[in-house]
């Protein structure tokens, strides 16, 4: 009996070596049981903007083709915990000084053209991304404070990443997708960056696009539709817990529909399976269609806040107007302005009740990072008036606006980008509330590029008073922006004098660096909490509110995430675990 067992174990081990080392997709990532899963069928989705290239080294927009056909790297995140887990790597180890991570690459993985995936592919991909002449969008991710992160091949299945200093986002770097060295390598050696840029344009024959991920390009019609088909090589090492190869679907069709109304129409007509409506009107139309039995679909309203921010920022560098400059640099003034922002009204009026108020730079959806005890200067006009009185604005002029003892009126200009209806509405709410306490706000909507130009201008005298704008793209490892927090940062929008003006800016900058090099999550979280407290005190930026995420899908689909992990961060499902029920 025991001997048989030993034999069995031996055989299984041998089988493991002979075939691919598989990655088993955990059951807890989906609500579907392996027994109810069906194979085959086509998933139909829609995107707003057209695809621009198949080339992974020049692609820039979100949701591009290379990221869609092959979204993974050595590691990936477990959506149930947020932890990094080995994926194309079979395991990893961190050196004691935390400057090196060594990855053991899974054996037996193949490119869709049958060639093995090895360390060379990562090395070549990294070389091309970090070639300045290529202009890759991933270029910056391979540097920390301007110092390069390097990769070294130990053997065909071992890679070592070396970091210039310990870094909280180390694994995010290792997440980059490898591309085939046997295809890009020879061109790169012969023609360099120019050769790379000419490869895999939209005119490339689909059969020449090689992938390591779940999908292959089947066909692409510009402006119309991208059709992807299952990559069988992927299923050799990606299995569900019952051992079935993934993905279950035969095809994944993505329609390009530039107008959100047309997208909604397609969803209501049952022609597309996935939708994330963003307006109250669209949500209610979907709900109505479901209730009246015209559409068999599911919608999760308010699944989570989205990972973006909307805020008002005051310009601290106005040498030409010392009165305004000292006002904008005054923490009392900014606090008063926070008190006049009626976040609840913004959520109700601008987002139709489907939004979330914001009080710190950490997006509310990053729940692990949000400090629940962060001070909030909520809507409170009396408090605002009191603070302004403390600044010397006690009298009102004939028009009802506050003036100080020298008769200077409390007035500033507020701008946002024209065409962004939600921001314009927010601005109008602020104008109204400000008027109630006696502050004159002159609102104008201007061209986006002009606005960005003003916001990012630097020096002692910048050409704006206050701007409403937003940022997006949160990081789960360290949610503070590398060019937002440091005083010399390009997006240190309130103060672009090039130096810290407030001791708390210096403090934030120091905490930012400390947090980024802290690898212990708990300790890093504490630093993050502290930073949010300082931010809330300093109020360099007045956060307002953001919309929520409302995923919807046609009920012919199965395999969505359990409710607990459906969010703007993790989405509604893993496509690999999605199947067609009927």
């Amino acid at each position: 009996m025991r001997r048989a067992l030993v034999w069995m174990v031996g055989l299984i081990a041998l089988a493991g070596v002979a075939s691919a080392q598989t990655f088993v997709w955990p059951q807890k990532w989906t609500v579907a049981k392996p027994s109810e899963v069906k194979r085959g069928g086509t998933l139909r989705a829609a995107v707003i903007s057209d695809y621009r290239t198949f080339n992974p080294f020049v692609t820039a927009e979100a949701g591009n083709v290379p990221d869609t056909i092959s979204p993974y790297g050595l590691v990936r995140r477990d959506p149930t915990t947020g932890d990094w887990i080995p994926y194309m790597a079979e395991s990893f180890s961190i050196s004691p000084n935390k400057l090196e991570i060594t990855f053991k690459i899974r054996r037996g993985m193949k490119w869709s053209d049958g060639r093995p995936i090895t360390a060379d592919d990562w090395i070549m991909t990294w070389r091309i991304h970090t070639d300045k002449a290529v202009g890759s969008n991933s270029y910056d991710s391979f540097f920390i404070d301007g110092k390069p992160i390097t990769l070294r091949k130990i053997d065909d299945y071992t890679l070592r990443f070396t970091y210039p200093r310990p870094d909280a986002t180390a694994f995010a770097v290792a997440e980059f997708t490898p591309w085939p060295a046997h295809i890009f390598g020879p061109v790169y050696q012969k023609e360099g960056a120019e050769g790379i840029k000419k490869m895999w344009t939209l005119n490339e024959k689909p059969e020449n696009i090689v992938s390591a991920g779940p999908w292959l390009v089947e066909s692409y019609r510009p402006g119309e539709r991208l059709v992807l088909k299952r990559n069988p090589a992927f299923g050799e090492w990606n299995k569900d817990e019952a051992g079935n190869p993934l993905p279950y679907l035969d095809r994944y069709e993505i329609k390009i529909v530039k107008d959100t109304n047309a997208q909604l129409a397609e969803f209501l007509a049952g022609n597309i399976d996935l939708m994330a409506p963003s307006t109250v009107d669209h949500i209610s139309q979907i709900r109505q269609a479901i209730q009246q039995g015209r559409l068999d679909a599911t919608i999760k309203v308010n699944a989570s806040p989205v990972a973006s921010s909307q805020f008002m920022v005051f310009n601290w560098n106005k040498a030409s107007d010392p009165f305004k400059q000292s006002l904008f640099r005054s923490e009392k003034f900014r606090r008063a302005m926070s008190h006049i922002v009626n976040r609840q009204a913004v959520v109700e009026i601008v987002y139709g009740g489907l939004g979330t108020p914001m009080y710190s730079s950490v997006y509310p959806v990053l729940t692990q990072w949000v400090n629940p005890k962060v001070p909030k200067y909520e809507y409170n006009p009396q408090q605002a008036a009191k603070l302004l009185a403390e600044l010397g604005f006690t009298r009102k002029d004939r028009e009802g606006y506050l003036v100080d003892s020298k008769g200077r009126r409390l007035e500033f200009n507020l701008a946002t980008n024209a065409g962004n209806v939600q921001r314009e509405q927010i601005a109008k709410l602020i104008v109204d509330e400000a008027k109630k306490v006696g502050v004159k706000v002159n609102f104008t909507a201007i061209d986006f590029n002009t606005l960005v130009g003003q916001l990012l201008s630097s020096g002692p005298d910048r050409p704006f008073d206050a701007i409403i704008i937003g940022l997006s793209g949160g990081d789960l490892d360290w949610p503070f922006g590398s060019n937002v927090v440091p005083c010399k940062g390009n997006l240190h929008m309130w103060n672009k004098s090039g130096q810290c003006l407030d001791p708390r800016e210096t403090q934030l900058e120091a905490l930012y660096s400390r947090g980024r090099t802290e690898l212990d999550f708990k300790k890093r979280q504490e630093i993050g909490y502290r930073m949010q407290e300082i931010e809330a005190e300093l109020l360099p930026v007045i956060y307002i509110a953001g919309p929520n995420y409302h995923p919807a899908w046609n009920n012919r689909l199965g395999g969505e995430h359990p409710d607990a992990i459906i969010s703007a961060i993790w989405g509604q499902r893993e496509l690999e675990l999605t199947f067609i029920k009927k």
């Binding site: 300045k132 344009t201 510009p222 007509a269 793209g473 390009n490």
Partner: protein
């Protein structure tokens, strides 16, 4: 005549340079450039943006950029799209072809419907039919095409909800599984998708053109020679079509040249609303992104077609109108 044509072609050269430079200048006068959008991305460093700006040549003075572009243009190269990292012609040509699927049938439909409707309205002025057609024309003129497209989508959806079938698609140019269809099915599929956009795109223009035709025809019918023709006892058919119509249609011949650029300039917002992969949504994107050479390249092609089209209309005009002679 040959001398006239040659002279016209010579005039085109300075016009071409002047117009392209003006277009280039106006595009460049807009604040910011293709990379401005990237500047608000917290993950991209300013050094990277500066490097890309040098790479795209956006750091050079405008006249230098224009001269470089002109040099390319003279080698029949419209330039390079920043967004697609591909030659402009390569990315715009498929869109232009898609647009033509709507523009050509809708132009034919326009003339086939608008001219008879206009003539009918003029001949039967103030009849019930004329009043009805005028009423419809005013509605057609007042409803913008994008709104008409939205109404069409709404109606199609309501029919689908009531009957369970989509009589025409709500958007797009082809159905799922298009690539697997045999060629004949593919043509039928595109035609099926094109019906609603063609109708919507034509609706406005029919209204306008038929009113114009009606006005022209009425004016001609009031002329002395028509009275003379009738007095001579000519058949009404001959009076209308041989004498009146031929003269009434002259101003339309003058506009035929304008059709040439409109062939490539797309069907307008109908394409955006109904997700038709034509040139309009593409061009709007290029403008929003400030994809410089796509905008400039496309404008140049339109400009050349407009110039050629004008020449053709002048020649056509000379051909149909015996009063005009070019020496």
């Amino acid at each position: 005549m040959t001398a006239y044509i040659l002279r016209r072609i010579l005039y085109l050269i300075p016009t071409f340079f002047g117009a392209t430079f003006l277009a280039f200048l106006i595009i460049q006068l807009a604040p910011g450039d293709y990379l401005t959008q990237l500047e608000l991305d917290p993950k991209v460093t300013p050094e990277t943006i500066a490097r890309l700006r040098v790479q795209f040549g956006l750091d050079r003075p405008i006249y230098e950029q224009y001269l470089l572009w002109m040099d390319n243009l003279l080698h029949l190269n419209l330039g390079y799209s920043f967004a697609f990292q591909a030659p402009v012609l390569e990315v715009i040509w498929p869109r232009v072809v898609n647009s033509m699927v709507i523009v050509i049938p809708s132009t034919l439909l326009l003339y086939l419907v608008a001219i008879p409707v206009g003539v009918y309205g003029a001949v039967r002025q103030y009849s019930l039919g004329d009043r009805l057609l005028s009423f419809l024309a005013y509605i057609g003129l007042s409803v913008p095409s994008f709104f008409l497209a939205l109404i069409a989508i709404y109606v199609l959806l309501q029919i689908k909800f009531r009957t369970g079938t989509l009589i025409f698609p709500v958007s797009g140019m082809t159905s799922s599984g298009f690539e697997q269809m045999p060629p004949l099915r593919q043509i039928l599929d595109i035609a099926w998708h094109a019906v609603v956009p063609v109708l919507v795109a034509t609706a406005n223009d029919i209204a306008g053109l038929s009113r114009l035709m009606r006005g022209q025809m009425l004016e001609v019918l009031g002329q002395d020679y028509i009275r003379t023709a009738r007095a001579k006892g000519l058949a009404e058919r001959v009076v209308l079509y041989k004498h009146a119509f031929r003269n009434a249609v002259i101003p339309f011949v003058a506009t035929l040249g304008g059709l040439l650029p409109s062939l490539i300039s797309g069907a307008g917002f109908v394409e955006v609303v109904m997700a038709w992969p034509g040139i309009t949504p593409f061009f709007l994107d290029a403008i929003a992104n400030q994809d410089l050479y796509v905008i400039a390249g496309f404008l140049t092609v339109s400009l050349v077609l407009l110039m050629v089209g004008n020449l053709i209309s002048d020649l056509l005009l000379a051909w149909v109108d015996p009063r005009i002679r070019y020496e």
